[in-house]
């Protein structure tokens, strides 16, 4: 089934209204993370229901807000009490059992001081815990950002190195009549005959398909392998080739095929 047909089958609406079966939901969860068109359709439908909810809003009785906050605070309290009771045993041995009338007064002060210390320690703990959590979160975000930057840098650098290498010839592959905006670039190392490929503007291939690079040698297509779009590298080394007259890219089933499917040709460029 093609994707437009799938979207208009009513499944998206069933999904956002919570009517889809468990299996349908699982399938759609999977499709939406891979297909921007389906994802957009879902977001649109959810948007409609959000607008609908806003339009159908009814103000709740004003007293409810504080009642709900009281409930939430109560739950938080219970959680904290469990934490406190864990800390308790530490203070228990501080009460000596052989106490006499005389040392009861200092003991009382000692108990009060200990309680104050305990409360202070717990609140400090909670405070540090929350700061630590927020720092951890920040760190995680920064690490991800750093990794992405590193990757982008590596990709740019490998392109830059190729472009600046005098023995490397840059061959732009431009969109064929059917796909005029699409573009890819082949970098051809003239000494070693190594071929590198970068997809500049080609849509993400469906899960079960891959872009395959072809060299035209003496008028015949020779496969130079498939481009791995799942890999992070945007410039990939393909099979080496001598004396190619042109390069072209077709969309083929995953793993590539022996001879190109001509109607699935996206871009091509002469050497």
């Amino acid at each position: 089934m093609d994707i437009k047909e799938y979207i208009s089958s009513g499944i998206i609406e069933a999904y956002v209204m919570g009517l889809a079966s468990e299996e349908e939901t699982r399938i759609l969860d999977c499709i939406q993370s891979n297909n921007p068109e389906v994802k957009q359709a879902i977001l649109d439908a959810q948007n409609t229901l959000e607008d609908f909810a806003s339009q159908q809003a009814i103000a709740p009785p004003p007293a409810l807000k504080s009642a709900i906050w009281a409930k939430i605070s109560e739950e938080n309290q219970e959680k904290n009490e469990i934490e406190e009771s864990v800390a308790e045993p530490v203070t228990t041995p501080l009460y000596p059992s052989q106490g006499t009338e005389n040392n009861k007064a200092p003991l009382k002060w000692f108990a009060i001081a200990a309680t104050i210390l305990l409360v202070a320690s717990i609140s400090l703990n909670l405070y540090f815990n929350s700061t630590q959590n927020s720092i951890k979160n920040q760190l995680a975000t920064l690490t991800i950002a750093q990794k992405n930057n590193e990757l982008a840098y590596q990709n740019l650098k490998s392109k830059w190195d190729l472009v600046n290498n005098p023995t490397v010839k840059t061959i732009p592959l431009l969109g064929v009549e059917k796909h005029p905006d699409m573009k890819a670039v082949v970098y051809f190392e003239q000494n070693s005959n190594d071929v590198y490929l970068a997809l500049e503007n080609l849509p993400i291939a469906p899960k079960d398909q891959q872009y395959q690079l072809w060299a035209i040698v003496d008028g015949k297509p020779v496969s130079l392998g498939v481009f791995d779009q799942d890999a992070a590298a945007t410039v990939q080394k393909m099979t080496a080739v001598t004396s190619a007259q042109a390069f072209a890219i077709t969309l083929e089933k995953r793993g590539g095929v022996a001879s190109p499917t001509m109607e699935n040709m996206y871009v091509m460029g002469k050497v």
């Binding site: 409810l64 739950e75 929350s130």
Partner: protein, 200 residues
């Protein structure tokens, strides 16, 4: 006299300040909630409680139940915020579904159904009427969107969205093929989208 003016000015400023509550983005709200910050609750409640209450009220039709369920819903949001997955949609959608499911679970629960049986019918009718009016009063100048939908679409949204029937159940209940239910659901939502756009 001057005091009065000053007071008036103060009130005006204060009122404006309340209205100009800064708009928070979803990640900001979520991070406040994760930090168990009361500000997060206040923001969420002030901005979404009416929508949540509207949904619950339409599912259970009665105020006393709605008042009870909205409390559960906000406690659930507070407790389960860590399970919210922004990959699957927005926070607002998540809350809407949570409210709807909690309310639907409630009307399906045994206790609720027994109570309904014992209740005399006129009471129930009165309550829903009272609710229909309440809804209209809340939106002076805005016509009920639902009442502008074609009967077959309105019925479908009511059964599917507010009463939680599956498509199969609706098909059996209305004696219509399930394929028709599917396309009808789609058309109902498309029409709803158009109507909501006009209202904006």
């Amino acid at each position: 006299m001057l005091d009065c003016q000053l007071f008036f000015y103060f009130c005006l400023k204060h009122f404006n300040f309340l209205n100009n509550q800064p708009k928070l983005s979803e990640p900001e709200i979520i991070s406040l909630l994760l930090q168990q910050d009361e500000k997060g609750f206040n923001y969420l409640y002030d901005n979404y409680a009416a929508a949540v209450y509207g949904i619950i009220t339409r599912v259970v039709s009665e105020k006393e139940y709605a008042d009870e369920i909205i409390q559960d819903v906000f406690v659930k949001i507070w407790k389960n915020i860590a399970q919210f997955d922004s990959e699957k949609g927005r926070l607002y959608t998540w809350m809407i579904n949570l409210a709807r499911n909690t309310a639907i679970d409630y009307i399906r629960s045994k206790g609720f159904q027994n109570e309904q049986k014992n209740q005399s019918i006129p009471d129930f009718v009165n309550d829903s009427e009272q609710y229909a009016t309440a809804a209209n009063v809340d939106h002076i100048g805005v016509k009920e969107v639902l009442s502008q939908l074609k009967e077959e679409w309105r019925e479908l949204i009511d059964l599917a969205y507010y009463k939680g029937y599956t498509q199969q159940e609706i098909a059996e209940r209305l004696d219509i093929p399930i394929g028709t239910i599917k396309t009808r659901t789609r058309n109902a939502l498309i029409e709803l989208k158009k109507l909501l756009k006009d209202h904006r």
